[in-house]
Amino acid sequence: MKGIVNKIIPFSNVDGPGNRLSIFFQGCNYDCLYCHNPETIEIFGEKSENIPEDISVMSIEKILEEIENVAPFISGITVSGGECSLQWRFLTELFTEIKKNWKRLTCFVDSNCSIPLWPEEKKKFIDILDKVMIDIKAFDKKDHILMTGISNENVIRNFKYLVELGKIYEVRTVIVPEIIDNEKTVDNISKLIAEYDKSLKYKIIKYRQNGVREEVLKAYTPSEEYMKKLKKIAEKNGLSNVVIV
């Protein structure tokens, strides 16, 4: 089995706890208005023709080699995308091998959590991964479809499933001004989180234009005051660890 990889960053300090090797997998089932890496959206198969040159079809061994080079310097690896969970079979195998070789390295999954993670066939995947960073991009279904092209029933169900297992590292929402009702969104999402775990980290992320396709979305970065207002809403709902990025 092979993984379709867009790029690997050997040292990353923004993808979870400590220093991590980040693997960006190619291919996504969403098409977010504000996608910062639209080049990672297109899905290729292992044997697809005309895979662009900068995308690599990588074996487990090849990725393990990359990890080997930096293993002493990292706390773990984070898989991201695109949407890495689309390649969950490959990830299951990769994580199993990582744990075999380096017991202390943790495996984190940065995901939009749109594919059902609860079915029995994915049990091994969920067991072996350490934590998930989950994007809840909107709460209202219509808003979610507007932002991503797809409804969010699976996302919410996945959230509930994972949080009960203690497998969530953080929840994230990108704040784009003037498209959907952000106050309502943050209010609902934080209520949902608070229902399960008030100390769970909730990251609200300022929209930034860099990388975003101008023909799809042209927006401005929300002000610090606005973000603080949203943070207050989440805190009022009982969350103790709300972070503005």
């Binding site: 040292f11 990353s12 300090n13 923004v14 400590g18 220093n19 991590r20 002493p72 310097f73 990292i74």
Partner: protein
């Protein structure tokens, strides 16, 4: 001569103290007491051997690392000081002693493991914090030279935490700080606090406790001046450096360098060091007259001589004619292997040269990766990869770690991080843990946003360099060096680390 003296006196950019020290240097410069043979002088004239302005007649050891633990227990007869009973007396006693510890700069280059020294006196935390903050303030404003170095760790202490906190609040250049770090002893939260401190004020640096312990035969050690590993209760008589970037001009090829030029240069430099050590020990009367020796805060037989090296990168690149980056030191396999070979040979030659008066280091001089001087142009410190040629961080660390084991009296690398890293200091701790496992001895971090930055080993404020650049007086002598290095060695152009 008198013209030189008058120009020191009339120089308005110098403070009174800076004038005083330069005048003393000028006086010493009139003497000619060392027996310097023509072959040594030839290499001195060519800048291959350089004594780093130690002067013509050594009358104090270059670096002195007193046994402050002992001083805290016994006080001092000469200074008429009794052992301290509380935090105020403890800090005062230390400040008094610092004033009487000489060195090449005439300021103390080592202040002791100040956290363990003060920890027993911490009773009321609020009061202790006030005392510690004033202690650090006093050091910064009176020891106006950031070669002055205090040590922390490896254990987490209340005093250690307070020192870090006060260091950030004071935002000072002096003292330089090192945390003796051992993953198995130092808890992560204390190490992370140290890194957060470093990202604000460029210190402490991290020293590899396990490695140094092994090199000092299980005994504790002092980190003094820039990053020099020395025996506690001793120090270094002298530090002379061999400029490999210039020595390479004498060699016909690699073989000639390794088998003829290098051993000959080691011999010339070691003989020069012998002369300096001999005068200091046998004639200057330093060890007979200093109360530090009489009260056994220092012991003559715990001193050694530091054999410094600079410019390995330039030496390697020159001798193999490396033009393209992929062939150069830090990138090319051949270049890096040759670098290791040169240092291996160097160590062999230095260790085989037996010397008097260096009992503590097995009767030979010890290797030191010298950080350079402000007037160096295009010469990299010690075994460092030149600024502008730094590879990605994992590769960089593995490359430099090959050299660190050879330099027990000091070597280190400096990595500036971007502001994202300050949001995740644990990521830097991961890197340090890995670096020490790979064999690095000493690791320094600073943030590109901070005012205090690390030049080559010592610290300087960017804002102070600006002042001096505008020809205003600055209190710290080291700012002068920093400005020189800023202009000649591109230190502000170091590769910034973040995600890579």
């Amino acid at each position: 001569m008198s013209e030189q003296i008058l120009s020191i006196i009339k120089n308005n950019v110098l403070t009174y103290e800076q004038k005083l020290r330069q005048l003393a240097g000028a006086a010493e410069g009139t003497l000619n007491v060392l027996n310097i043979t023509p072959d040594i002088q030839e290499y001195r004239d060519k800048g291959i051997i350089c004594d780093l302005f130690e002067g013509n007649a050594p009358y104090r050891a270059r670096y002195i690392t007193p046994d402050y633990e002992k001083f805290m227990k016994q006080g001092s007869k000469f200074l008429d000081i009794k052992p301290a009973k509380d935090i105020w007396e403890a800090t005062t006693n230390l400040l008094i002693l610092y004033n009487h510890v000489p060195s090449i700069t005439s300021y103390p280059v080592y202040l002791g493991n100040i956290d363990t020294l003060l920890e027993p006196y911490i009773k009321d935390e609020e009061e202790a914090y006030k005392a510690i903050k004033l202690f650090l303030l006093q050091i910064d404003r009176t020891i106006t030279d950031s070669f002055c170095h205090a040590n922390l760790g490896p254990h987490k202490t209340k005093a250690g935490e307070m020192i870090l906190k006060a260091t950030v609040e004071l935002d000072t250049m002096t003292p330089n700080l090192t945390l003796k770090y051992d993953e198995d002893i130092t808890p992560d939260d204390f190490a992370v606090q140290a890194i957060e401190t470093s990202l604000k004020v460029a210190k402490p640096s991290f020293s590899n406790y396990k490695m140094f312990q092994k090199d000092f035969y299980g005994k504790d050690y002092a980190i003094a001046s820039c990053y020099n590993g020395l025996s506690i209760g001793g120090g270094a008589y002298t530090l002379v450096r061999l400029n490999l970037a210039k020595l390479v001009e004498e060699a016909k090829n690699e073989e000639d360098l390794l088998s003829h030029i290098l051993p000959d240069a080691v011999n010339r430099m070691a003989r020069y060091m012998d002369e300096r050590v001999k005068f200091l020990v046998e004639e200057s009367g330093f060890f007979e007259s200093s109360f530090l020796a009489k009260e056994e805060l220092i012991h003559r037989d715990r001193f050694s001589g530091m054999f410094g090296v600079v410019g390995l990168a330039e030496c390697v690149n020159k001798i193999i004619g490396a033009e393209k980056q992929e062939d150069r030191f830090g990138w090319g396999r051949y270049a890096d292997d040759l670098g290791v070979k040169i240092i291996e040979k160097l160590q062999e030659y230095v260790h085989n040269y037996k010397v008097k008066y260096c009992e503590i280091t097995d009767n030979h001089y010890v290797l030191h990766a010298q950080v350079g001087i402000d007037t160096d142009y295009g010469i990299s410190p010690g075994c460092r990869i030149p600024i502008g040629d730094e590879p990605a961080l994992p590769k960089h660390i593995k490359q430099t770690a090959k050299f660190h084991p050879y330099f027990k009296s000091g070597i280190g690398d400096i990595f500036p991080f971007d502001e994202m890293a300050s949001k995740n200091p644990e990521s830097i701790l991961d890197i340090i843990k890995g670096a020490f496992k790979e064999g690095m001895r000493y690791f320094s971090v600073y943030s590109t946003d901070a005012d205090v930055i690390r030049i080559t080993g010592y610290l300087v404020k960017k804002s102070e360099m600006e002042k001096l650049h505008r020809n205003e007086q600055v209190i710290q002598q080291t700012v002068v060096f920093g400005l020189g290095a800023r202009e000649n060695s591109k230190i502000l152009e170091r590769k910034i680390r973040g995600n890579e």
